[in-house]
Symmetry: D2
C-alpha cells in the first residue's frame, strides 16, 4: 500500500483520464529541445498550445505570419506537435491573444479543424497590459462554444460567482488564476480559490501566477484538481529542474490534501508528552 | 540527465551523507506500526527520539519511568530502535523536555552512553506553554556540549543573531523554528529564515511549525538544507499519506531552490508573444 | 501649515464635496440611538441605507413589510432619516438584497422617488451565501441606471477589468470589496485594489470586508479615495469607540498615502549614521 | 462621552504619564527645523536621541567627533535639546551603535550624567549589517543597568522568551522589533508580538520596522502599548505629513483594540437581514 502511494489518485477531465495533475503550457520556451526536455521532466500528460502562435496550416508545414522568432511559426508548430505525439502528451489548444468572444470562437474552430480536438482552453483577455480575463466576453464565449460542442476549459479570474456560472454554462473545467499571467506572484487570494473549489462539480485547475514549487503545492492543498503553468518552468534558469520540482510539488500537495493536515493552533503542543518525564 | 534529477543533490550533516533532506521526529505517533509505516513512506534517513521518553536502559529492555502510555517506555524504546535499525534510519536523540543547560547536558550524556552516538538534537525550552527555546540556556548548553565532543544540532528560535552565534560556538547544524512546536502555522517569518540561511556555513534545518506540504517546500525554497517535522505527520488523519506528501514536497522545494525561479513581477507578462499575431 | 493637516484634502464624489472619506452603512445596528452615536463618532458625511429594509413609504410613516424587527421598518425608517438630517449626513440608498438587474432597477427607482436622490449604491448579489456581486447582472444594471440618469456607486468584486468597465459605463464611483460582506477578513488581495486604483478616473471606495482600523488605513494607503463599512462598527463590542477608531484610521491612511512612505528594504538601515562614532 | 473619545486612555511608562502613545526617534532627519516640525506634528511626548551621535559635552556646546554632517554633533545636540524642551518633549537617550553590554553601560552612564535622566533605551546590536539585537549581551546589559538604578527600555527581537526575561530582570518596558531597523517591512511576525503582549506586565512598545500608518495601527491592535519609529517619518517624502499620519494611526489602532473588533468569519454575513424582504 505504501508503494502504491507514489501513484496518486486518478484524475479525469472532460471524460479523459490523465496521468498527471500538472498541465504545462508551451509559452516562453527558448528552444524546442529545451521545451521537450522540460515537458518530459514535468511528467505532464496535457499541454496547452497557443493557436494564434502556431498558426493555421502549422500541421502541414506552411509558414504562418508568426514564424519570425524562437520556436513559433508553422514549422515549429509541426515539430512541436511531433514532439508531443512522441511523448504521448495530449494537446489542449488555447485562445491566447483573443480579446473578444468572436475572436475566441474563430480561434477555437480553427484549432478543432487543424488539431482534430474539441478541447479548447478558452482565454478571452481584456487588454494586453493586465492579460486579465474579461468576464462578460468569457461568459458569452463559453456559452457559444459549449453550444457548438466544444469541451471548454475556461480560464477565469478568481471570482467564485463567475466560476460557478461558467460551470453552469457547461464548462468542462474552470481555471481560476492565482495571479496575473507571468507575474509569479503565487496565489494572491487563497480564500477565493477555496470558495471556488467548495462549490465546483467540475475540475478546478489553478492557472496563471504560479512562480515556484510551494505555490503549486498550496494550490493542490486548497483543493484544486490540477495546476497549469508555463513561464514558471520555461523562463526558470534551469527549466528541466524546475519542471521536475513542480512534478513533485503537485504530487506532494495532492497527497497532503488527501491526508488531512493537522489543524492550525494558536499555541504550542508538545509532540512528546511532558508528563511522566524521568527525573534526571 | 533528466532521469537523474529525481535524485537530488547530496546532503551531508556532521560529516555523514544522508539520503533524504526530510528528518522525521517520532513524537505523537499512536502506535509503533503506524510510526514505522510513516517513517518508511517519508523516505527519511534520520529520526529524532526523545531521550526523556525512551528512558535509560531502553535498549536493554528494562522498563523506564516513562513507560506508562502509548509507545513510550523502555520496551517501546527497544522496539523502536529495532525498527529504525531494520529500516536503516539513523537515530538523532533529542533533549526534549529539558529546561536548563544542566538538564540538557545530562540527557545528552545519557543518550551518548545508551545509543553510542555523539549526535544530539539540543532542545532547551523556556516553559511548557510556548515550548520556545531559551536563548541564554541554549548558548550555554551548546558551548558545553561542543566542548564535550558532541555534534550539536541546535533547535533555536528564528533569530539570525542567535543562529550565527550557535554556529560560531561549534554547532553542527542550526535548526530554526518556523512556528512554535505543534502549531502547524508554517513559517511565520520567512525573512528571518532567509537571513539565517544567507549567513550560515553549517546546514540549516527548518524545525517546528510545519503543518503541510507547501510549508516544507517553502522552507527548502528559502534555502534551508533540510526540514524536520513530527506531528505534521504523526497527527495527520492519514500519517502514511502525509509522510509521502512531505517526501515529495521537500524534493520539489529543493529542486525549485536550485532551478532559479522566475522573478516576481508587479505586472503581467505574456508567455506567448503578442506581436505578430495573425489577423483572424 | 501643520495645524491645517488635520483637515485632509478635499474629497468629492458625483460632484459633491464630502467632509469625510469614511462612508458608514447602517446595517447591523441594534438600536437607533446606538447607530446615531456611532455615525456621529465616525465623522461620516454619507451613509448607506438598504431600501429593501426601509421600505417604500418609510418617509411618510406607513409600516412596510420589513418592519418586524430591530430598527427596520417604516417608522424606523422615518426616524432614521430624521437622525441623518439632524446630523447633516447625506443618504446613499443601496439595493442590498437584489439578485438581478431588474430588481435593482426597481429598487433604485423607488429610492429616487421616496428619498429624492438620484444617487444609488448598486448591489446585485449572486446568492445569499457568498453575498458576492454578480458581474454580468452588475454590468447590465449599471448601464441601465446610468441611462436613466442615476449616479451609480457600483459595489463590485476586486476584478480590475470589471471595475474599469463599470467606470466606462458611467459609474460615478467603483466600490471593490476587500473581502466578502461581514467577514472582517480585511483586504484579501491588495494587488488587485492597487491595480484598480492605478487605472481609475472616478473615485475608488473600498467596500466590504473591513474588520478593524488597520484594514481601513491600508485601503487608503493602497490609493483608495474612501472606505465604506458597516458591521465592523455596528457589530463591534463598542460601536462608538470603533467608529472613532475608523475615523482616525482613514485620516491616517490618507495622510500616509500622500506623504510618500519609505521604500521597503530587504536589509537594515541605521537611522543614525554608524561612521564617526566616538570611541568610548 | 463621544467628545472625550478623541483623548485616548492614559499611558504611563516607568511611572510617568505620557500624552501620546507614539514615540518618535530623531535619527535620519535632514535638518533640525524639519525634525521639529515632524515631532510637533506627531504629537509625541517622548523622543529617543542617540548618545553616540550627540556626543558627550553636547549640552555644553563643545564639538564632538560626530559633528561632521547633518544635524549631528555637539552644537546640533544642544540645539536639539532646546527644541525638545521648548516643545515639552521628554528625552529618552538610546545606546544606538553599541555592540556589547560594556559599551552600552558606558553610554548609559554618560547619558545619565549629561542629560540628568535615568531613562535609557537599551540597544545592543550584534553587527552593522542586520542591526539586530544581541540577546546574550542584551540580557547582561539589562541586568547591570537595572542594578545601577536605570529605567531600562529594552530594544529586543520578537522572541517571547527573551521579552519575558527582560521584564523579569527589571526592564521598565520591552520594545520588540516588527522588522529590522530601517526596512519598513512592518510587523513580520504578528503572532510573536501577540504572545509577548499576552504575557507582559510592563508596557510593550513596537519598535523598528514600521513603514506606514497601517503598520502602526496594527501594532496597537495586537495589544502594544505604544509604537516607536524614526525613519518612517524622517525619511518619508513629506515627514510632517507622515508624522501626522502616524499620530492618527496610533490613536485609531488603540481605539480599535479597546473597542472589540468583529470576529473574522470564513463566510459572508449580511449586514441587513435578508428575510422579510418586500417582494418587489
Amino acid at each position: 500500500m505504501i508503494d502504491t502511494l507514489t501513484d496518486t489518485d486518478g484524475f479525469s477531465i472532460a471524460g479523459v483520464e490523465l496521468g498527471s495533475r500538472l498541465i504545462m503550457g508551451t509559452g516562453g520556451a527558448p528552444s524546442l529541445e529545451g521545451l521537450e526536455a522540460a515537458l518530459v521532466a514535468s511528467g505532464t500528460a496535457l499541454t496547452t498550445v497557443a493557436m494564434r502562435r502556431y498558426a493555421v496550416g502549422s500541421t502541414t508545414g506552411s509558414a504562418g505570419p508568426g514564424s519570425t522568432s524562437g520556436i513559433s511559426g508553422a514549422n515549429a508548430g509541426s515539430n512541436l506537435f511531433a514532439v508531443l505525439l512522441a511523448n504521448n502528451i495530449r494537446v489542449l489548444p488555447n485562445t491566447a491573444g483573443c480579446f473578444t468572444a468572436r475572436e475566441a470562437l474563430m480561434t477555437a474552430e480553427l484549432a478543432r479543424e487543424a488539431l482534430e480536438t474539441d478541447w479548447v482552453k478558452l482565454e478571452v483577455i481584456a487588454d494586453e497590459h493586465t492579460l486579465l480575463p474579461d468576464a462578460v466576453e468569457l461568459v458569452e464565449a463559453t456559452e457559444q462554444l459549449v453550444n457548438r460542442g466544444f469541451k471548454v476549459f475556461a480560464y477565469t479570474n478568481d471570482d467564485p460567482v463567475l466560476a460557478l456560472r461558467l460551470e453552469q454554462l457547461g464548462a468542462a473545467a474552470v481555471m481560476p488564476l492565482g495571479a496575473p499571467i507571468g507575474t509569479g506572484l503565487g496565489i494572491l487570494n487563497p480564500h477565493n480559490i477555496e470558495l471556488i473549489v467548495s462549490r465546483a462539480n467540475v475540475p478546478v485547475v489553478l492557472d496563471a501566477g504560479i512562480g515556484t514549487a510551494s505555490d503549486a503545492a498550496l494550490a493542490m492543498e486548497l483543493g484544486c484538481d490540477a495546476v497549469l503553468l508555463a513561464s514558471a518552468v520555461t523562463r526558470a534558469q534551469d527549466p528541466v529542474r524546475m519542471a521536475e520540482a513542480f512534478k513533485h510539488a503537485v504530487i506532494g500537495g495532492r497527497l497532503a490534501a488527501q491526508a488531512g493536515r493537522i489543524p492550525k493552533r494558536a499555541h504550542a503542543l508538545a509532540s512528546s508528552a511532558m508528563e511522566g518525564r524521568p527525573d534526571l
